[in-house]
C-alpha cells in the first residue's frame, strides 16, 4: 500500500506548519486534522479549515485523501476558524436565558417595576396564559436541543454565543417587561382574541414539533446524510408539499399567535425580526436543496406557500 505524504501550509502566509508522512490513502480529513492537532494543540480539529486551495472551500471531514485531486504528496492549506463552541452549548444557553428572564418579570421581582408592585400578580388571565405559552415554547426548544435535533456541524464560532444571547435574552426581557407590566392593557377584542391567538399558537407549536421529528427521522443517528423531506402521515407535515422549511413557517406562526394574544408591539417586532432571519435561512436551505437534488418538488417555496 502506497502511503501519502501530507504537508500543511498556512493559507495566508504559506508558512509550512506541519509535515505528515506515512499517511494512509484511506485517511479522512478528520483523521488528518487529528494528526495536525498533535503538533499544534492550540488548533483543535473543530477550528481547523483545511483546503486544497488557499482561497478555496473547506474540505469536509468525511473526504478521503485518496479521492482528492492530489498527488502522493498532498499540500493542504490551513485556516484558523477561531475559537469554537458546540451548537448544543449555544442553543441551551440562548434558550435557557429567555425562559428564566421572562419569569423574573412575570413574578415582578424587585427593581423592575415600582416597589409597590414587587412580587404582585397580574389580574389579567391573558398575562398568566402568556407566561405559560412563552415558558412552554422555550422548554420545548431546550428539550428538542437535547433529544431531537441532529446537528450537521458540531461547532460554531465562539462570538456567535454573544450575538445570539444578546438577541434572545434582550428581546425576551423587552417583551416580558411590557406583558407583565402593572399598566398592561389586555387585547382589544378580549377573550375572543385570546382564544383565537392561543389556537394559532398551539397549532403552530405542534406543527413545528412535528417537522422537527420528521427531519430527525430523515437522518440516522451519527450520520450527515441529506435527503429531501416529504410529508408523512402526520397532517402537520403536509406543509412540506408547499414549503421547504415548514419548521420556520410554523415558528413564525407561533410568534404571530403570541403577538395577537398579548397585543404587544415588541412581540410583533420580535416576530418580524425572526421572520426576516428565518426567511434568509429558508432561502439558503431551499437553494441548497435545489442544487443538490435534481428531482426537487417544483411547487415548494422556501417559507411561505406560493409567496416567499
Amino acid at each position: 500500500m502506497k502511503h501519502y505524504e501530507v504537508e500543511i501550509l498556512d493559507a495566508k502566509t504559506r508558512e509550512k506548519l506541519c509535515f505528515l508522512d506515512k499517511v494512509e490513502p484511506q485517511a479522512t480529513i478528520a483523521e488528518i486534522k487529528n494528526l495536525f492537532t498533535k503538533t499544534h494543540p492550540q488548533w483543535y480539529p473543530a477550528r481547523q479549515s483545511l483546503r486544497l486551495d488557499p482561497k478555496g472551500k473547506s474540505l469536509k471531514d468525511e473526504d478521503v485523501l485518496q479521492k482528492l485531486p492530489v498527488g502522493t504528496t498532498a499540500t493542504l492549506y490551513f485556516r484558523d476558524l477561531g475559537a469554537q463552541i458546540s451548537w448544543v452549548t449555544v442553543f441551551l444557553t440562548e434558550y435557557a436565558g429567555p425562559l428564566f428572564i421572562y419569569l423574573l418579570f412575570y413574578f415582578r421581582v424587585p427593581f423592575i417595576y415600582g416597589h409597590k408592585y414587587d412580587f404582585t400578580s397580574s389580574r389579567h388571565t391573558v398575562v398568566h396564559l402568556a407566561c405559560i405559552c412563552h415558558s412552554f415554547h422555550y422548554i420545548k426548544r431546550l428539550l428538542e436541543t437535547l433529544f431531537v435535533h441532529r446537528f450537521s456541524h458540531g461547532t460554531m464560532p465562539l462570538r456567535n454565543i454573544f450575538k445570539n444571547c444578546t438577541y434572545y435574552w434582550g428581546f425576551a426581557a423587552w417583551m416580558a417587561y411590557y406583558i407583565n407590566h402593572p399598566l398592561y392593557t389586555p387585547p382589544t377584542y378580549g377573550a375572543q382574541q385570546v382564544k383565537l391567538a392561543l389556537a394559532i399558537f398551539v397549532i403552530c407549536q405542534l406543527g413545528n414539533f412535528s417537522i422537527h421529528m420528521a427531519l430527525r427521522d430523515l437522518r440516522p443517528a451519527g450520520s450527515k446524510t441529506r435527503k429531501i423531506p416529504y410529508p408523512t402521515k402526520n397532517p402537520f407535515t403536509w406543509l412540506f408539499l408547499l414549503v421547504s422549511c415548514p419548521n420556520y413557517t410554523y415558528e413564525v406562526g407561533s410568534w404571530i399567535g403570541f403577538a395577537i394574544m398579548t397585543q404587544c408591539l415588541p412581540v410583533a417586532l420580535f416576530s418580524l425580526v425572526g421572520f426576516t432571519q428565518m426567511t434568509i435561512w429558508a432561502k439558503g436551505k431551499h437553494r441548497s436543496y435545489l442544487k443538490e437534488f435534481r428531482d426537487y418538488p417544483p411547487l415548494r417555496m422556501p417559507i411561505i406557500p406560493f409567496l416567499l
Binding site: 472551500k57 449555544v90 464560532p157 444578546t166 398592561y184 415588541p266 439558503g284
Partner: protein, 271 residues
Amino acid sequence: MGRLTEAAAAGGGASAARSAGPPPAPLPLSSTSPGCAAAMASSEEDGTNGGASEASEEREAVGKRRRLGLLATIWLTFYNIAMTAGWLVLAIAMVRFYMEKGTHKGLYKSIQKTLKFFQTFALLEIVHCLIGIVPTSVLVAGVQVSSRIFMVWLVTHSIKPIQNEESVVLFLVAWTVTEITRYSFYTFSLLDHLPYFIKWARYNFFIILYPVGVAGELLTIYAALPYVKKTGMFSIRLPNKYNVSFDYYYFLLITMASYIPCEYVSVSTLM
C-alpha cells in the same frame, strides 16, 4: 454612495489598485460608526456555519470584479458631481453668512433647506448599494446615512431651541469638509483621474474631522436633552393599547453612549 471600487473601474489604473490588496474599507460618512449596526443573532442553521465568513468573503470578491455598466457610471458620476456641488454651495453659504453677520446665530436657519435637501438626497446611496452599483454593504451605508438623517431631522430640525448652539456649527463644518472631499474623491475616481491631493485628503482629513464632527454632534444632543425631557417629545407612555413605551430622552442618552464603541469600531476598520 458614489464610490466605484478600484477593481471595477472601467479605466486602466484599476489593476494597480487591485494588486495593492483588498480595497480600503469605506470611510465613515458621519461620525457615528457603521460597525455598531444591529448584529443579527445569526445562529447559522445547518448548511452554513463557521465557513460563513469565508463564503461572504468570496461573494464580496466576486461582486467587486463585476464591471460597472455605462448607465450606472453616468448616473454615479452625475450623482457625485451634484453632491460635491451641493456641499460646496453649503460651505460657501456658511462662510458668507459668517462674513456678513459676524455671528453663528441664525446660520443654521439660513442654510437649513440646502442642508436638508442634500443630506436627505444621500439616502439614494443605500439604493446604490442595494442594486450593487456601489460595492459597500447595504447595512454599512444604511447606518451611516441614518445617523446623518437622525442628526438633521430628529435633532437639529425638531428641537428648535438648540439651533443656535455653537456645536451645530462645529459638526456642520466637519460634515461639509468631509462630504466635499468624499464626493469629489468618488467623482474623480469614476472619471479615472484622481488628483493625489484628493486621495490624500480622503485618507487623512478624517483624523481631524472625525473627532470634531463627533464632538459637535454629541454636544448638540447634550444641549437638546433638557428640552426633550421637559416636552416629552417623540415619546409614548404606558398604558396604551399596544403595550409599548418609548422615551426619547433615554434614547438620546443611549445614542450618546453608543458613540464611543461605534467610533472605536469604525476607526479600527480604517487603520
